[in-house]
Amino acid sequence: MIRLALICLLCIPSLASAAEREPFDDRYCTTCHGTDGRGNEGVQAPRLAGMEPWYLKRQLENYRDGIRGAHPDDIEGLAMQPMAAMLTDESIQDIIEWVGGWNYVPAEHTISGDLDAGRALYQPCATCHGADAEGNEALGAPALAGQNDWYMVTQLRNFLAGYRGVHPRDVYGAQMRVMTTGLSGENDINNVVAYINSLSD
């Protein structure tokens, strides 16, 4: 009983004291994702500027609904999940419009690798993500070119390790998980990401 009462207190601020409460800013995105959503390696938060509205919507919904960011070893996803859990359909639309107003700045390259090996590894990826990694909305595949390379490395690792793409409702994630089985280890991941980097040079 007591616990229930405590939880209620935390969730529903009483109206009487609401008037004197310190107001909060509800636009948290740039705290982690950096100026104009350019991405911040310091907190492992990817670039949002330039991200396709349909892809951003799907990921925010996935986070909100516990389809992404629920695995105990998905450290970055776990930080994102409670943020998305607060969102409504309207606030997701609001965020998409906000993000759409940001200047797109291609991410700096931080990873190098064997471009020939990377090109070969990328060929299956190109089917969905495009030969220039430009993305394909019809296939539900986002652009990769210009995204933070360290973020792509983390996500490929997450797919391979089963931290992402394992929820039964994550249809696209499951596809990605199958595709990443062609990558055997850190070197392959580095090489394919280095090749994707080269496409936005």
């Binding site: 007591i2 616990r3 405590l6 939880i7 207190l9 935390l10 601020p13 004291s17 004197e20 409460r21 310190e22 107001p23 909060f24 800013d25 948290y28 740039t30 705290t31 982690c32 994702h33 950096g34 100026t35 104009d36 350019r38 991405g39 911040n40 390696e41 310091g42 907190v43 938060a45 105990p72 450290i75 776990l78 930080a79 999940q81 409670p82 943020m83 859990a85 607060m86």
Partner: protein, 524 residues
Amino acid sequence: MVKPVSRREFLNLLAAAGGAGAVVKAGAALGIMPADAAASTLDLAAGNGRSAVILGGGISGLATGYELGKAGWDCTILEASHRCGGRIFTVRHGTLIDELGNRQYCEFDDEPHMYFNAGAARIPNTHRTLLNYCKELGVELEIFINENKTCWVQDDAMLGGKPVRNIEYTTHLRGFVAEMMVKAMHETDMDEPFTEKEAEILLGMIRSFGDLSEDDVYRGSLNAGFDSGGFLSQGVQKDVIAFRDLLKTPFAMRLLSTNEGETGPILLQARGGMDQITEGFLRQVGDRVSYRAMVASIQVRDDGVDVAYDQDGARRQIRADYCFNCIPTHLVTGFEHNFPADYVRALKHVLRGEAYKAAFQAKERFWEKQDIYGGISWMNNRSQQIWYPVAGIHRQKGVILAAYDYGGGMYHTRMTQQERVEAHLADGENVHADYRNLVEKPVTVGWHRMNHMLGCSARWRRSFREGWTGETEQHYRTLQAPVNGRHYMIGDQISMRSAWMESALLSAHWAMADLDRRLRNAPA
């Protein structure tokens, strides 16, 4: 030829000739005897209309604004959040805890002693620069009780999880250790020859360390606390806990020290909450602070620094001659900037701290009914510690720290608020039987997710045994040095001892002294 005399021999000669007084005087002159402690202070040249933009209202930023302001500089402090202080954060009635995904408003009773220092909580007596500022700014201090042997020690592995008083645990531990030491003294030929006098003192020391019986066996001690009596009747000794049982818990390796790091057991705190230190600075520089001003861009030029920031839905610009920046390194990497590559590498080298704290309001001060006034109970579980408040002794209610996870993982941070609270209730119940019913109104602070900070104190990659690697120290020096002579990173993050206010202040002093020296030496 004159035989050289060592410093110690010299002191002995002096003592023989002039008595102890002579030793004290000469010792101070030679730098052996302690001199009076000196805080770091600054004597800056007049600002002459120079301007500085200070990024972040943490203690290093506030101190910089205060010192430069005293020297006549034109300072502006940009603070991203609704409050200054950074990790000096006192939670009380109505406080907004702006944790990403877990926003809370504190519901503690609205009384002066009902507060929780969720970040900085202890001031070591040797942190002179901070103490000096407290004096200068009129921040009232009081003693913080860190070590209190009446508090509890609890480990599920020891005595079936039954909590024992720290004083019992440590007294018994010393007794058994002393017994072994005496045996070793008698049985072994020591490599180190002791004179009869030395051996006598050493044996006496061991016997008194462990309260041994006359036959050099440990049979318990009244120093572990009375079981009953002690005033009008004979004190009755408590039962001894077997040595084997004491060794069931790793606390054996920790509890004999009363230090807090290199200081302690004397620590201090600001009366009424650590944020009184922030308030002390704000009384001097509050009108220079611009709140909810989130930095977007830092461009270091030859003749100044351009900073862009978002405030009230608009992007604003400010230009200053110099910039002092105490924003956490891992957030600076997300700004638009024109920093050199080695500087960016160094910024990325520093890791985010993961510490976590939680607190409850207690409906009654149940610990005082167990003779506990301040101090820390130790639990060998994930909540780790319970801190009892010094503030409000014998009042009806109090605020206790319910968990302190100093980092090295994010066990609690990853939980929901409900899961965190339940974890601390379940852990605390092992020490205080009716805990669940005695506490209410929880607050939790996962520093890794606190808005505009996203981390507790900076973690430099290093080995505690081997210290800093050459590479790490190189990055540290890179960040300590100014960019183009115009932009200084400051804060406890730019020190070799992060997490302390003293480090933050010394870092700011270093930067200001460095700039001052360069300005004085510059051709007019």
